[in-house]
């Protein structure tokens, strides 16, 4: 699972008001290089919750994202590369996602988070 997806996911448990961002428990992280597309990054930037991305990338061991970011920084190739790496190249292979309110863990196996809820959580 890439951090792009992590940045979109929120906990869906009944009664949870703010299920975003999900915490990350890391067991194994892998990197898969993909080609950078500046248009996509610029398009996505407005939709990304920056703080959540920074925190998530730190918990995955990547610390080169700046604390704050705004759209003027998108012209810098260096920034785009870091953004791209954090967003699309880091994969959480094994571990778990944690609901920020209830602490419920969604296990991640082979890169696939198990977001299935129990019957009493729907």
């Amino acid at each position: 699972m890439r951090l792009l997806t992590h940045n979109m996911l929120s906990s869906n448990i009944k009664g949870v008001i703010n299920g975003f961002p999900l915490g990350i428990v890391v067991e194994k992280v892998i990197e898969k290089p993909v080609e950078m597309n500046p248009d996509f990054l610029k398009n996505m930037f407005a939709k990304i919750e920056w703080k959540a991305l920074v925190d998530a990338s730190r918990s995955m061991g990547y610390t080169e994202l700046p604390e704050q970011a705004d759209s003027s920084m998108l012209d810098s190739v260096d920034f785009l590369q870091r953004f791209h790496h954090a967003l699309l190249e880091l994969h959480l292979e094994e571990g778990a996602l944690v609901c920020p309110e209830t602490g419920r863990k969604f296990p991640v196996n082979k890169g696939i988070p198990n977001m299935l809820l129990h019957e009493d959580e729907v």
């Binding site: 929120s10 939709k47 919750e49 699309l88 198990n114 977001m115 299935l116 729907v122």
Partner: protein
């Protein structure tokens, strides 16, 4: 004809390792899925500016439909309830991210982030209650409600569906409308029983030109095999219509005849049905005084 998978078992059980493998090793299914997802992409009508979008593939299965999305250069997130299907998707090195989840529980996604959603042959599964806790109406409501929230303004969702009956189609459509979507059903090849395909085209946000329902293919008797030619002129709007007259049985004055009855009886016997034995009375007309 094989019975519908929806009535055999819940999706996470029906698509077990064996079925998932079968599904993805059949070149026929792969071709159909690719065709369906290409048509869904077409109906999604994303702006043609070469910018990759973030799309959602609901019921992505082994990633066959996602492949089409990747080919078009988009990033996608796939959701499926069958772990076996997702395993195959990993094997096929699907480029999108995969999630194991149940669409009937609602999509746990942030509001307004997804640029479009497609779903190939999946939404009709929601009409089934596979567990005692399942209530199709509520599951459809949860699904469409959460989908409406996570789509960006003006984004579209295209679902290819196989509704079992008119009631099912109405149920799906009314749930979508209640969630706030505008749109309708597009039917390709409405007169063909085999290649007839239904697409639910939904758009969220205020009604605009873009929320008009696009037209279906092959309304004017254009045969399905011609669809690769993509004749634009032959496409007309065909919103499915329950008032359309049913096919009338052809009857001539003398009835169908003994030969026809014997052939039908034989056919039924081969299917293993209980059929009364043939005799001299078979297919004989009753006397009028009866």
């Amino acid at each position: 004809m094989a019975s519908r998978p929806e009535i055999q078992a819940p999706p996470e059980i029906f698509y077990n390792d064996v079925e998932a493998r079968k599904y993805t090793s059949s070149s026929r299914i792969i071709e159909i899925q690719a065709k369906l997802s290409e048509r869904a992409m077409e109906l999604l009508a994303l702006p043609d500016d070469g910018v990759p979008r973030l799309l959602l593939d609901i019921g992505c299965g082994s990633g066959l439909s996602g492949e089409t999305l990747s080919e078009n250069g988009h990033n996608w997130i796939g959701l499926d309830i069958s772990p076996s299907m997702l395993d195959i998707a990993l094997e096929r090195e699907a480029e999108g991210d995969l999630l194991l989840g149940d669409m009937g529980q609602g999509l746990g996604l942030r509001p307004g982030v997804i640029d479009g959603a497609i779903s190939i042959s999946a939404v009709q599964w929601l009409c089934n209650a596979d567990k005692s806790s399942h209530e199709p109406r509520l599951r459809l409501k949860a699904f469409f409600g959460s989908l409406y929230r996570c789509l960006a303004r003006g984004a579209r969702a295209v679902f290819q569906v196989y509704p079992e009956s008119i009631a099912q189609r109405e149920l799906i459509l009314s749930s979508a409308m209640r969630a706030g979507f505008a749109g309708g059903v597009v039917v390709d090849y409405p007169h063909s029983s085999k290649s007839r395909k239904e697409y639910l085209v939904l758009s969220c946000g205020p009604p605009s030109v873009s929320s008009a329902v696009p037209s279906g293919k092959g309304e004017d008797g254009e045969s399905a095999s011609d669809d690769s030619s993509g004749d634009e002129d032959n496409r007309t709007v065909s919103i499915s219509d329950r008032h359309r007259p049913k096919k009338k049985q052809k009857l001539n004055k003398r009835g169908k005849g003994r030969e026809w009855v014997l052939r039908k009886k034989d056919q039924m016997r081969r299917k293993g049905n209980a059929v009364p034995p043939d005799s001299k009375y078979t297919a004989r007309k009753r006397k009028s005084r009866f």
